[in-house]
Symmetry: C2
Subunit: 385 residues, 2 copies
């Protein structure tokens, strides 16, 4: 693509369209293309698509994902789930163990009108007890997916032990909680070094999930859903046989990490940060975007394979190539130049290491279409509880 | 202090007082003590105190700083300055080179009623021209401080060259812009390895600033303000002779970085994150605070001297000692336990690596006094433009 003289790293109209800097720009053409492509991928693989909205936290983007065929969404936290249920999600999986009665009740209340399908996740008897108690308080029947640790070593039961069967039995013993299937997140795909290593992670995840589902079925347990997900492992894998649902999040925007993994190319990047050079010295051009815009993420899940905190192109002359952002203060970025710093006032267009925290730090997206930009709020920004 | 059996790492009432987790708790007793101590330090040193509000972004905390004797505040960005001017700051230094006419006009409009004293910062002829143009548009006379690079190599003129004198001449040539003095930020103090290294940074900063002021005075230029600042270098130094003003920010909260530098002790920490254990495995207790609460900052200005992303104590049993947060996902923290993970539902109290981005990510502070907590908004959260 870089050999194609017509290839544009970013839409040439984007840097001027955003107005004030620093700005978090979303390229609407690329956003739509990413959304459509993932929907097609899910259809081709015979799996349902339930995107994770933690990446964008935007009701407008969710609407596009649903219109393209997503059956519902995935959220991390109860406050996110409440906003997206109230905002029209037909169903929400809260892919996070909820234990606090107030958090569970918050989601149930938000999902009551309009009626939103809910799925909770458990990985401990304490989680099942919390759901059971909430079900009895509200008179609802609650669906629970069992989270499985497929190698990230974060949440989830150990698939090698008898923990899965034991937890399903605990669920079955509560007449108000219904076992809905298995769920996993192979976030260690972000620590992979290349596309083949990502495929390995996806292969292992699928094998673990299929094996556990089979073992449960042999015990007479119906396993409805087998849900997996992360953008790298749903793009790079050997197929979805035995899987019923995928939950990618980052794919709507893509970022420098996905490029490094071989999951995306520069032409897929839909989220860019536009910044202005405010000072310069013999080593650095200083820009008006720091860690309060770009975050300090070297990559997701503590991945640190990338050098620096993003890549920056001249807005008017991307052909000069990308410069590395070597360091960040809170409101300044240190861009390494080639001895001839860009003039003060020059706009730079930045590819972030990790798009998700950039969206969460933004008040709004500047959604660029042609030469104009519209403001879309980041509706669930800062919803961490 | 740790040998004193009555010493409490944090107020024992704090973890329960905050309510829902994750929460960003502010200990009001310690906040007040930090504010008073810095005000006394400034008075004893014969310098004015103009705290940087980027740390807390809170009008309520600014009011306490002003009540303790601060003469005004420092802000990074025009949007912050506008909120704090409208919120009652008697004077604001925008310690950031403003070039965009819209940004300068925004600050001037916000400072018009009630009338707020403003000081702008320049480090280039482009900055002087931008101020001059704004002054002519609005009929105001604008004060400009010249920023000096004292080693951070971020913004600021090179003090070793003739850039300082040349820039002051450029300012003098504009009848609408008035040279108000010199300003520096020795942020490289955060990369120091111990207290003596911080003192060295402060010594160098003061020497550079005094020398430059003297050279300008020899040329007949009046240098009103000689303003320096960063919490480490105003706490650890050889005195303030020749300095007129200090601009520390982080001191209101302090954090793990300040402890590592020898600037603060555990008893000075006023900002804590309270989180809950939601899952556990053989290596990690998983908590409900990740990079969207704690940030991924290893430390300010790309300092990476700290291992992990914070320290975590059992809320009910801090005497067991601190556990390291080894990794962060967006909504999960990976806490290394000693083989016996805390029970699911246990609250942990976390000392963040860097308090400033934690405050910027929060919607509100839970300000704890005794067994109760009040909500204080983070008024200028996300103001990056």
């Amino acid at each position: 693509m870089a050999d194609d003289p017509t290839f544009a790293v970013f839409d040439p109209d984007l840097p001027a369209a955003v107005g004030d800097t620093p700005a978090v720009a979303v390229d609407l053409v690329r956003l739509n293309r990413n959304i459509d492509r993932m929907a097609r991928r899910a259809r081709a693989g015979g799996v349902a698509l339930r995107p994770h909205i933690k990446t964008h936290k935007s009701l407008a983007i969710m609407q596009r994902q649903l219109a393209a065929g997503a059956k519902g969404i995935t959220a991390s936290k109860s406050s996110e789930a409440a906003i997206f249920a109230a905002g029209g999600a037909p169903s929400v999986t809260i892919a996070y163990p909820l234990l606090d009665p107030a958090k569970i009740d918050r989601v149930l209340a938000a999902a009551a009108t309009p009626q939103t399908g809910l799925r909770f996740v458990v990985d401990s008897p304490a989680g099942v007890r919390a759901l059971g108690a909430a079900a009895r308080r509200t008179g609802a029947m609650l669906d629970a997916l069992v989270e499985v640790d497929v190698g990230l070593h974060r949440c989830g039961i150990d698939p090698g032990a008898d923990a899965g069967l034991a937890l399903v039995r605990t669920i079955d013993a509560d007449p108000h909680v219904c076992f809905a299937g298995l769920l996993s997140h192979a976030g260690q795909a972000y620590r992979a070094v290349n596309a083949e290593a990502v495929r390995d992670v996806a292969r292992t995840e699928r094998r673990i999930m299929i094996d556990l589902a089979e073992r449960l079925r042999k015990d007479g347990i119906e396993v409805g859903e087998v849900s997996v997900g992360s953008t790298p492992s749903v793009v790079l894998n050997d197929g979805f046989e035995g899987i019923t649902e995928i939950r990618p999040g980052n794919y709507v925007f893509m970022d420098r990490t996905q490029i490094a993994l071989g999951v995306a190319g520069l032409a897929d990047i839909a989220l860019w940060v536009v910044a202005t050079v405010v000072s310069a010295n013999d080593r650095f051009a200083i820009i008006d975007a720091g860690s309060k815009v770009l975050s300090s993420d070297a990559g997701p899940h503590g991945s640190d394979a990338l050098a620096g905190f993003g890549l920056a192109w001249h807005a008017d002359d991307p052909g000069r190539g990308a410069m590395t952002i070597a360091a960040l203060s809170e409101e300044h970025g240190f861009v390494v130049h080639d001895g001839k710093p860009p003039a003060i006032g020059t706009r730079l267009v930045i590819l972030p290491n990790h798009a998700c925290p950039v969206a969460n730090l933004a008040r709004e997206f500047m959604v660029v279409e042609g030469r104009t930009a519209r403001r879309w709020p980041v509706d669930a920004r800062g919803c961490v509880s």
